[in-house]
């Protein structure tokens, strides 16, 4: 237990192996703001056995929904989700970039019809997973700047 820099949690989620520097974006995606009502710890720039440096986010009493997981996958494709139950890792999986991205990102093209108040969810096809490259199915514009456009 000596590797813990924060108090262990009984139930909740540990998002591990977050791409270093993106923890704050992960917090935004999962909607952690000033009014948060459960304990959240954020570790930034910690050494990683796997690759250099990483960030970690630990949230008590919360499990993530599929849309949140998809969004995390987009900005940090190697993030590991650990579901903690009764202080133990009950489930562990790596997030996965979905084939189709629907309604979780807006198109980076300001001239795109999806940015104009039409009753549609923005939709993208994944052209490449590394680096993440998305193509808007409406205007065809390629977006690589993912975190700027996550809704």
């Amino acid at each position: 237990m000596k590797e813990f820099k924060v108090t262990p949690i009984r139930n909740g989620t540990v998002i591990d192996h977050i791409q270093v520097g993106t923890a704050l974006k992960v917090l935004r995606i999962i909607g952690v703001k000033e009014d948060v009502s459960s304990t959240v710890s954020v570790l930034m720039h910690v050494p990683s056995k796997k690759a250099g440096w990483k960030d970690i986010v630990k949230i008590e009493d919360r499990e993530l929904d599929p849309k949140e997981l998809d969004k995390i996958a987009l900005i940090s494709p190697d993030a590991t989700i650990n579901i903690i139950r009764d202080f133990n890792v009950a489930e562990k999986f790596v997030v996965e970039v979905p084939q189709k991205i629907v309604g979780i990102m807006k198109c980076a093209n300001p001239g795109c019809i999806t940015n104009k108040n039409e009753p549609v969810e923005p939709e993208f096809v994944v052209e490449s997973k590394k680096p993440i490259t998305l193509r808007c199915i409406y205007c065809d514009r390629i977006t690589t700047d993912i975190s700027e456009n996550v809704i």
Binding site: G111, I113, T114, C139, D140
Partner: protein, 304 residues
């Protein structure tokens, strides 16, 4: 079936459209009459002004015995009152058998296609796609040259912002034409687009010297350079001069080189060029009719 982007078409499919357009020629010229689309109604929604595209779509519909209705500017319509494109499309979808759409926003035609049960034809969406223009350009090249592949096509003008040249160069690459891009340094073909063309196995040349490029051209495709792209009027004058097509430029060109322009032109091509056998831009504008007849007949199921 929607006609949204030239990228949705294979080479064989484009060739088929051009074949059908060829058969439409006598009717397009008014030499023969047709009732192919008798009783069919085309909804013609132009959210942006366009003379050639709108008139040739409506002429195509009329030549085949069908009718068109719609607007050529959204002022005064429900659109001006803030109706979404989706709602306008749902309404027009109920009144018509096919919808042609020109819209300032990119991706508008794809969106319209999602809300319409009837076929949607993209007549230009902002800086995006304008597939029927590309098809009539290809039709014009094939008609004059007998084929598309193997031709050396020099494209000159505003290659950075010009939507016509992006779709056209992609299609030409797919057909295996040789490509040269000539533009002022600030209006060169975007790198992304060049890469895309290279990925299709074509090695396009890029440059700023029109005189040199023209010597070996089979097709010279000219587009307008807009004054607004140049903050300095003197700079614009210089560029406009260097990229002007006049009889002197044609001296070193192949005798059978054809000159094309999507029109309207301002002064990129001097009027003296109009009467040369090289000038094909008016025929090209006419070709919009048979090509759009072919597409309308196809999406409405009147021909295979």
């Amino acid at each position: 079936m929607d006609i949204v982007s030239i990228r949705d078409f294979s080479r064989a499919q484009i060739e088929h459209v051009l074949d059908v357009a060829e058969r439409m020629l006598p009717v397009a010229k008014g030499d023969e009459k047709s009732k192919l689309l008798d009783g069919k109604v085309l909804g013609s929604l132009f959210y942006e002004p366009s003379t050639r595209t709108r008139l040739s779509f409506e002429a195509a519909m009329a030549r085949l015995g069908g009718k068109s209705l719609g607007f050529d500017e959204p002022k005064g319509s429900s659109v001006a009152k803030g109706e979404t494109l989706a709602d306008t499309i749902r309404m027009v979808d109920a009144y018509c058998d096919a919808i042609v759409l020109r819209h300032p926003q990119e991706g508008a035609a794809r969106l319209a296609g999602h809300f319409a049960a009837k076929p949607v034809l993209n007549a230009g969406d902002g800086a995006g796609q304008h597939p029927t223009q590309t098809m009539l350009d290809l039709f014009t090249i094939r008609k004059s040259k007998g084929k598309i592949d193997g031709n050396h096509v020099v494209i000159v003008g505003d290659l950075k912002y010009g939507r016509t040249v992006h779709s056209l160069s992609e299609a030409l690459a797919m057909f295996g034409a040789q490509l040269t891009f000539v533009a002022p340094p600030t209006l060169q073909m975007p790198k992304e687009h060049l890469k895309h063309i290279q990925s299709m196995g074509i090695k396009p040349k890029s440059g700023t010297d029109l005189t040199e490029a023209v010597k070996d051209a089979d097709v010279l495709y000219v587009t307008r350079i807009q004054k607004e792209r140049f903050p300095d009027p003197a700079e614009y004058q210089k560029v406009a001069g260097a990229f002007k097509i006049d009889p002197a430029l044609l001296k070193d060109a192949k005798k059978d080189m054809i000159i094309m322009h999507p029109l309207p032109r301002v002064n990129e091509i001097s009027p003296e060029v109009d009467k040369t056998p090289n000038a094909k831009y008016f025929e090209q504008a006419f070709n919009g009719v048979p090509v759009r007849m072919a597409l309308l007949a196809m999406v409405l199921g009147a021909v295979e």
